[in-house]
């Protein structure tokens, strides 16, 4: 069964304290791995898509990397406005042409000033 596991569940950082969020996946065939940011009561906001091992993408203080078994979301010198839940999701070849996503449980990040 396809599975996505994120760790840690919650993370508290001081402003400027860099860290990484982990997303481990077990899927029959990875089509793409997605990172989303979700603020309370709002829809997930797209951050990155990664398609192959070794791929990296960056956006401001965020950098996403992908290996054959996991993905990391690195946060460099975070600010309080980076506080949110970060969701990882995979799209598999088994989903055919539907593109549905299988989500992890998310990591709730709190950045204190």
């Amino acid at each position: 069964e396809d599975q996505v596991t994120q760790s840690p569940e919650a993370l508290r950082l001081q402003e400027g304290e860099s860290s990484s969020l982990n997303c481990s996946y077990t899927v029959s065939g990875l089509r793409g791995l997605f990172w989303y940011r979700q603020d309370p009561g709002k829809g997930p906001e797209f951050l990155f898509t990664l398609y192959s091992a070794g791929e990296e993408k960056e956006k401001e203080r965020l950098k996403a990397t992908l290996t054959k078994k996991e993905s990391f979301l690195h946060i460099t010198a975070p600010k309080p406005e980076d506080s949110a839940t970060y969701l990882c999701a995979v799209q598999t070849h088994g989903s055919g042409n539907t593109g549905k996503l299988i989500f992890g449980q998310g990591t709730t990040l709190q950045v204190k000033p």
Binding site: Y36, T49, N97, T98, K100, L101
Partner: protein
């Protein structure tokens, strides 16, 4: 830029009532997805439509049905509501399956 529009934003219904949620995808997006997110849970895939035809079905109860109309907007119909149906319901749209898709702001359904 236009986003995915969902209505209503909030909905309160009593048990056994019916609810209809609406979704207006980004123009020229050909695929619409519906997800349910319970409190503290990750989004769970319900159903998707590609070019107005149902393309996939996830953990959607038989009490729920959905369709996509000729103008590409979609509606999720939920009948015989139960307390456990209280959740955030998200619609998302994409142009092709190989791109990250855009979520709407969601409809918060509360069943009392």
């Amino acid at each position: 830029a236009a986003g995915v529009i969902q209505s209503p934003r909030h909905l309160i219904k009593e048990k056994r009532e019916t609810a209809t949620l609406k979704c207006y995808p980004i123009p020229r997006h050909d695929t619409v997805y519906w997800y349910q997110q319970g409190p503290g849970q990750d989004p769970q895939f319900l159903i998707s439509f590609y070019e107005k035809m149902q393309s996939d079905k996830g953990s959607i109860p038989d009490r729920f049905s959905a369709q996509q109309f000729s103008d590409y907007h979609s509606e999720l119909n939920m009948s015989s509501l139960e307390l456990g149906d209280s959740a955030l319901y998200f619609c998302a749209s994409s142009s092709g399956v190989d791109y990250g898709y855009t979520f709407g702001s969601g409809t918060r359904l509360t069943v009392v």
